[in-house]
Point group: C2
Chain length 334, copies 2
C-alpha cells in the first residue's frame, strides 16, 4: 500500500503539517526534525501524491499536447522537443491524438480541460482552427505550432515556419535550376500551412514572369499516398511539369516512389522539392532537396513560450507569435 504523509507523521510522532513542511524544506521546521522526517520518508518509500498536491496547489505540472497523429515524423520531432523541455522544467506531457476526426478532436480538448493541464501545445491544424474557442476555455496558455493563430485570445500564440518564404525558396530554387513548368502538390484540405506555401510558390512564379496554371496545383493530403496519387495526375497532363514542389517531405517521398515505379528519373526528368527535412529525407533515393524546418527547436520554442506565458503577469504583455524561417537544403532531387 502506498505510504502517505499521514503514515510518516504517525511514525515520526508529529503532525501531518510538520511532515509536509519538512519535506518541502520549510524554514518553519527545526533542522533536526526535518532530518528525522526526511530519513523516515526515505525508509518508508514515500512518493508524494501528485494528484492531492494538484488539488491543493491548483497546478498539475502537466502540459497537454494535441497532435493529429504522432506517426507523422515531423510531429514526432516537434513533440520530442516539447517533451525534452517539459522534462527540464519538471513537467510531464499528456499526448492526445485528434486523428482529424471531430469526435476525437473535441474529446482531446475536453480531456485536457478536465485534467487541468497548466498549458497546451497544439500541432494539429484542424484543432487549432476549429476548436480555438474550446482551447481558450481551458484557461491556460495555448501555443499553436504551424497553425494560423487567429489571435482571439490573450494567452494564445503560435510558433510557425514562414510558409510563404519557404514556398518561395523552394520554387525559386527550381526556377534557378531552369524549370519553367513547376507543379505544387498541396497538403490536407484547409490546412493553414498549405495556403502559405501555395502563396509563396505563386509569388516566386510571378517574380520570374511565369504564368500560374491551376492545373499544376494538385491536391495531396500530406501523406505518402497523397504524393503518389498526385504524380499520376501530373504525368497525364498535356504538358507535364518538369519540377514539383510538395507540401511536405512525406508527400515528396510518396511522389518519389511513384516516379520510380513509373520509370521517371529524378531529377533529370522531374525535379522534386519537399518541406520539413524529416530525418529520413536524406536517406530516400535520391536524397531529397527540401525546405528544412528546425523541428526540435520549434518544439522547444513552443514549450518555452508556454512557460513564459505561465509566469507572465496578468497583462500578458510583451508576447507575440514567433516565426522561424525554413532553410533550403539542396540534395539530389533537384
Amino acid at each position: 500500500m502506498r505510504v502517505s504523509i499521514k503514515d510518516i507523521a504517525e511514525a515520526a510522532g508529529v503532525s501531518h503539517s510538520t511532515v509536509s513542511r519538512a519535506l518541502s524544506d520549510s524554514p518553519l521546521v527545526k533542522a533536526e526534525t526535518k532530518a528525522r522526517i526526511r530519513r523516515l520518508a526515505q525508509e518508508m518509500g514515500y512518493t508524494p501524491d501528485a494528484i492531492a498536491r494538484s488539488l491543493v496547489t491548483q497546478r498539475t505540472q502537466t502540459i497537454g499536447i494535441v497532435v493529429t497523429t504522432i506517426t507523422d515524423p515531423f510531429v514526432a520531432e516537434v513533440v520530442q522537443g516539447i517533451e525534452d523541455m517539459a522534462h527540464e522544467h519538471g513537467y510531464s506531457v499528456i499526448l492526445a491524438s485528434s486523428a482529424a476526426e471531430p469526435e476525437r478532436e473535441l474529446a482531446a480538448v475536453e480531456m485536457l480541460r478536465a485534467k487541468r493541464v497548466d498549458g497546451v501545445v497544439v500541432t494539429s491544424s484542424r484543432v487549432g482552427a476549429l476548436y480555438l474557442a474550446h482551447l481558450e476555455r481551458i484557461g491556460v496558455p495555448v501555443v499553436l505550432v504551424n497553425n494560423h493563430n487567429q489571435q482571439s485570445g490573450r494567452y494564445t500564440f503560435s510558433v510557425s515556419v514562414d510558409n510563404q518564404h519557404g514556398g518561395h525558396l523552394a520554387t525559386a530554387h527550381l526556377i534557378r535550376r531552369g524549370h519553367r513548368r513547376i507543379a505544387y502538390v498541396s497538403g490536407p484540405a484547409n490546412h493553414s500551412d498549405d495556403a502559405g506555401r501555395l502563396a509563396g510558390y505563386r509569388r516566386a512564379l510571378e517574380e520570374a514572369g511565369l504564368p500560374f496554371e491551376a492545373a499544376l496545383v494538385v491536391p495531396g493530403n500530406g501523406r505518402l499516398d497523397g504524393g503518389e496519387r498526385a504524380l499520376y495526375v501530373l504525368k497525364d497532363l498535356d504538358t507535364p511539369p518538369t519540377a514539383v514542389f510538395c507540401y511536405n517531405d512525406m508527400t515528396a517521398i510518396g511522389l518519389l516512389s511513384a516516379a520510380r515505379r513509373l520509370g521517371i528519373q529524378v531529377p533529370r526528368e522531374l525535379a522534386v522539392v519537399g518541406f520539413d527535412d524529416i530525418p529520413l529525407a536524406a536517406h530516400v533515393c535520391p536524397p531529397l532537396t527540401t525546405i528544412a524546418q528546425p523541428q526540435r527547436e520549434m518544439g522547444r520554442l513552443a514549450m518555452g513560450m508556454v512557460f513564459d506565458l505561465m509566469t507572465a503577469d496578468e497583462a500578458g504583455g510583451g508576447f507575440s507569435d514567433v516565426t522561424v524561417e525554413g532553410k533550403l537544403v539542396v540534395r539530389e532531387t533537384t
Copy 2:
C-alpha cells in the same frame, strides 16, 4: 473562473452531494431534480475536475508510456496504437521519454508513480530491463513492448515480436537467395531484441551448414548513422559479405544510403534486409525487404493487456506474455 459542483449546488438550491449524484446519474436522485441540475451544469459550463475525482476514486484514468524517443518511427506507430485504444476506453496517456539517460529513465518512472497512473506501457528496453523493480513499485499493471520480461512481478507482462523467428526468417530468406556470406548489424547495446535477432540469424546459418563468423557481426545502434558506419566496416573486410541483415529498418535505411554513396548496388552487389516495416520502408530506394512487425496492433495488444490486468481479480491468473510473429515482406533490396 472554473465552475464547480458547489456553484451548481448553490444555483440549484440543493447540496453538493445531490449535484454529484445527479451528474453521475445515480438512481437516488429524483428524475426531475436530475434534469434541472443537468441543464444548469450545461448552462454554467461545468467540466468535472478530474484531479479531485481522482483523489476520491483513487483512479486517474491515465496510462503512462515510457519510450526511449518518440522520433523512432516504430515507436511512434506503437504509441499511436496504444493511444487509439486508450481513447476508446476513455483514458488519456502521459508520454515520458527516457532518452537512454539514467537520470531521465528514473525520473520517468518516478513521475508516473507520482502521477498515480493506472497502468504503464514501456517500449524502452533499457527502462524495462534496468528499472523493472521501480516500475513494479508503482503498483499497477505494467506491459513491456519488445522487452524481455524477467517476470518478477505479478502484474508485469510483455508483448513482443518473436525476435529469433524473425531473425531466422530474414537470414533464411537471404540464404534462399543464394547468399553465403551474410552479415548482421546489431542494435543498441544490451538490447533484448538484439540478442534474439542475432540468435535467429545464427540458427539459420547453422541450419544451412554455414559457419558463423564473428567479423560479420558489426555493432550498430538502431539508428541511421549506425547503419551507415556499419557498412564502412563491412566493405573493408577481406571478404566482404554479399548480404546483410540489419537489426531494424532505420539501421537498414542508413546502410542503404551508405551503399549508394559508395556505389555499391543493392541488391546486385549487396542484399539488405531490415526489421519492423516502418511506413517509409516501402519508399526508400530500393524499397526495403524487411521483417514486418504489426506495430499498431502491438500497441493495441499492450494497451488491451493493461486493461485486462486492471479488471482481473486479485489472483491475476490467466495472463501470460504475448508473442507475435514477424512476417517477411519481400521488396527490392533482396
